[in-house]
């Protein structure tokens, strides 16, 4: 299953969850504005956005904890509007895990099966399997409070998965874990998800988490889905300045649209000319002000005739790479970040050195400038 490229997979797989124009209001505030989204069966979809963007609201609507003010949600082809949360067959992992403190780990995991009236022997067997899946086979008799944060996280995952849900929802499940544990839990969750092939919707505000785990990402802000795509599409071909700035670091360079030719456009950046895709420039006429977005890892030091000139200000050592901060008067904010491999930065481009910067065609994205 994992050999199918995700973008192809999402088109060939049957639809797991379909969200058709769902709107949710709280009083006068619109938390979710006509969201449309199709999630393939077995797909790992991440809802990514800053707090207050509507991602948790959408999750609660899918789980049935909230009722939509408009639109419809389908799970495996069935309309969910009239289905109460306890009949939806959706597993939820909560941000704080919400393990029942008065029950043992095994009772927590078996809860959903007891509620379904599964025979006792089968419950024992399935609970044991679920605990083995999350590598906690020996912990069934413990109480949740006797477990570490990471272990509680696994119990919560086992409890949600043991009911064989049609959809697994995860609400910022790693936010309470320290950084190392978070990394290993991400890998583990991804492996389990692949193995079981369960449709998964993962909510996070952490863009690196979203990029590393997802088949596809829906980037949200202000109650709207801004862009849906594979991590690579989101990172390299953002359709919206918000997406470009929220996912990954970015340098913003004020420029001017020169002309459009089919799918491509030419943008004037000072004396230089840059080729960009025209898809993000709809409605703009030649001469319009645009912002060029270039990732720090796409920036390069040129020998002499780069499109930008500046002075090295300082270096930020990050281990595997070094961010060289360059003062460039032409850039938004007067400064550009250039990301280079860790071993070659400070000696070659010392602070105070005058440098010329460049980037490859296709590595820049242009949007209509929001600066007046």
């Amino acid at each position: 299953m994992s050999s199918i490229p995700p973008d192809v997979a999402s088109q060939t797989r049957p639809v797991g969850v379909q969200i058709d124009g769902v709107t949710k209001r709280f009083g006068d505030a619109t938390a979710l504005h006509e969201a449309w989204l199709k999630i393939g069966q077995g797909e790992f979809m991440t809802l990514l956005g800053p707090s207050g963007c509507g991602k948790t609201t959408l999750l609660n609507l899918i789980a049935g904890f909230l009722e939509a003010d408009g639109g419809e949600i389908f799970v495996s082809g069935s309309l969910m509007t009239e289905t109460p949360p306890y009949d939806r067959e959706i597993g939820v992992v909560f941000q704080n895990y919400a393990l029942f403190p008065h029950m043992s780990v095994a009772k927590n995991v078996g809860y959903g099966l007891r509620m379904r009236g599964v025979p006792k022997r089968e419950i024992e067997q399935r609970v044991a399997e679920a605990l083995a899946l999350v590598k906690l086979a020996a912990f069934g008799d413990r109480k949740p409070r006797q477990l570490s944060g990471g272990q509680q996280q696994r119990v919560a995952l086992a409890r949600a998965l043991v009911i064989r849900p049609k959809v697994l929802l995860l609400d910022e499940p790693f936010s309470a874990l320290d950084k190392n544990l978070r990394g290993s839990m991400q890998v583990e969750l991804k492996e389990i998800q692949r193995k079981l092939g369960v449709t998964t919707i993962f909510v996070t505000h952490d863009q690196s988490e979203a990029l590393s785990m997802s088949d596809r990402i829906a980037v949200m802000s202000d109650g709207r889905i801004r862009q849906v795509g594979t991590p690579d599409e989101i990172y390299r071909r953002p359709l919206d300045p918000f997406v470009a700035a929220f996912v990954g670091d970015v340098n913003v360079l004020p420029a001017r649209l020169e002309r459009r030719l089919g799918d491509m456009a030419t943008v004037a950046l000072g004396e230089g000319r840059v080729q960009v895709r025209a898809e993000t420039l709809d409605g703009l006429v030649p001469g319009a002000a645009v912002d060029l977005f270039v990732r720090p890892d796409a920036m390069r030091f040129a020998d002499a005739d780069g499109v930008l000139a500046g002075t090295v200000a300082t270096h930020v050592y990050q281990g595997s790479h070094v961010d060289v901060l360059v003062d460039v008067p032409a850039a938004r904010g007067g400064r550009v970040t250039v990301r280079v491999p860790g071993h070659e930065a400070p000696g070659r481009w010392p602070a105070g050195a005058h440098v010329s910067l460049d980037f490859a065609a296709g590595d820049a994205v242009a949007f209509a400038s929001d600066a007046k």
């Binding site: 306890y86 067959e89 909560f94 008065h102 809860y111 959903g112 509620m115 409890r159 949600a160």
Partner: protein, 283 residues
């Protein structure tokens, strides 16, 4: 330098109050073991006769009735207070929240005597309830509610309600709503989710509330005295009669001491009995 310079100053009032009540209790304790001299306010010599007298059916029956009234009151108060506390904690409607809070807590600001008097107006033979029942032609003669255990319990429930609501609300407000959401997502309907998750998690509050209600009712005096009118005897009213109508201080003291001991015993038993309830849903 002293780390808590004001500790002695702050603790002094509490120590004084504790000493005073300990002294009073000690006085009652020594009265309980003295003989009653009829016609005299001073007690006689050492005697266990007061405690022997307690075993007489007449008095033993008052003990049983007191415990019964207290248990009944505590239980009914719990049943009435739980939904109130639940709604108070969970409602998002600010107006409803204020209304519930005021309804639940205002009785605290009226004295026990005032509250009890209002119940006399409601429960009396020509009172509110009987006037309505007779006006509607539902009954021919007034339903006897004054001077009955029923009347006393109704009034005691009202007196006890605020304390119970506050204690339950405190316990319920500490239960994360996500527990119920988790139970629901796992297939539990609202009733099952409540019975297997919310109720067991609120048990510490229930135990605290019921214990407090029991002790609160056990020591209630004005309500059983005014509504019971001498026909519903509780230990507190009996102590009053013996002490201030018969001036038998030693026997009244013995009764008080036994009452305190009994309260502790019942509370300890209640705590033991309720412990298994905390494991509901864990089977």
């Amino acid at each position: 330098m002293n780390k808590r310079p004001f500790l002695a100053l702050f603790v002094t009032p509490a120590v004084l109050a504790a000493l005073a009540s300990a002294a009073a209790l000690a006085a009652i304790l020594q009265y309980a073991f003295r003989a009653y001299v009829p016609g005299s306010l001073d007690p006689g010599g050492f005697s266990l006769s007061n405690f022997e007298a307690l075993l007489r059916p007449l008095y033993a029956q008052v003990f049983v009735q007191t415990v019964w009234i207290c248990l009944l009151t505590a239980f009914i108060t719990l049943v009435v207070a739980y939904p109130l506390a639940f709604a108070l904690v969970r409602t998002r409607n600010v107006a409803l929240k204020s209304f519930l809070l005021i309804t639940a807590v205002t009785p605290l600001f009226l004295g026990e005597v005032v509250r009890t008097y209002s119940w006399i107006i409601v429960l009396g033979n020509t009172g509110f309830i009987n006037s309505i029942l007779m006006g509607l032609g539902l009954v021919e003669r007034p339903v006897q509610m004054m001077f009955t255990t029923f009347g006393v319990v109704v009034a005691l429930v009202h007196v006890t309600l605020p304390v119970m609501v506050i204690m339950l609300a405190a316990a319920l407000s500490h239960i994360d709503v996500d527990y119920e959401k988790a139970a629901t997502s796992l297939g539990a309907g609202p009733v099952k989710a409540f019975l297997t998750v919310t109720l067991p998690l609120s048990m510490p509050g229930v135990v605290a509330g019921v214990s407090t209600a029991f002790a609160w009712t056990f020591s209630a005096f004005a309500t059983p005295q005014m509504i019971g009118g001498g026909r519903v005897s509780m230990i507190s009213t009996l102590v009053y009669q013996l002490g201030f109508a018969s001036f038998n201080f030693p026997f009244a003291a013995a009764l008080s001491i036994t009452g305190i001991a009994l309260t502790f015993a019942v509370l300890a038993m209640a705590k033991q009995a309720i412990r298994p309830l905390e494991k509901i849903g864990a089977h």
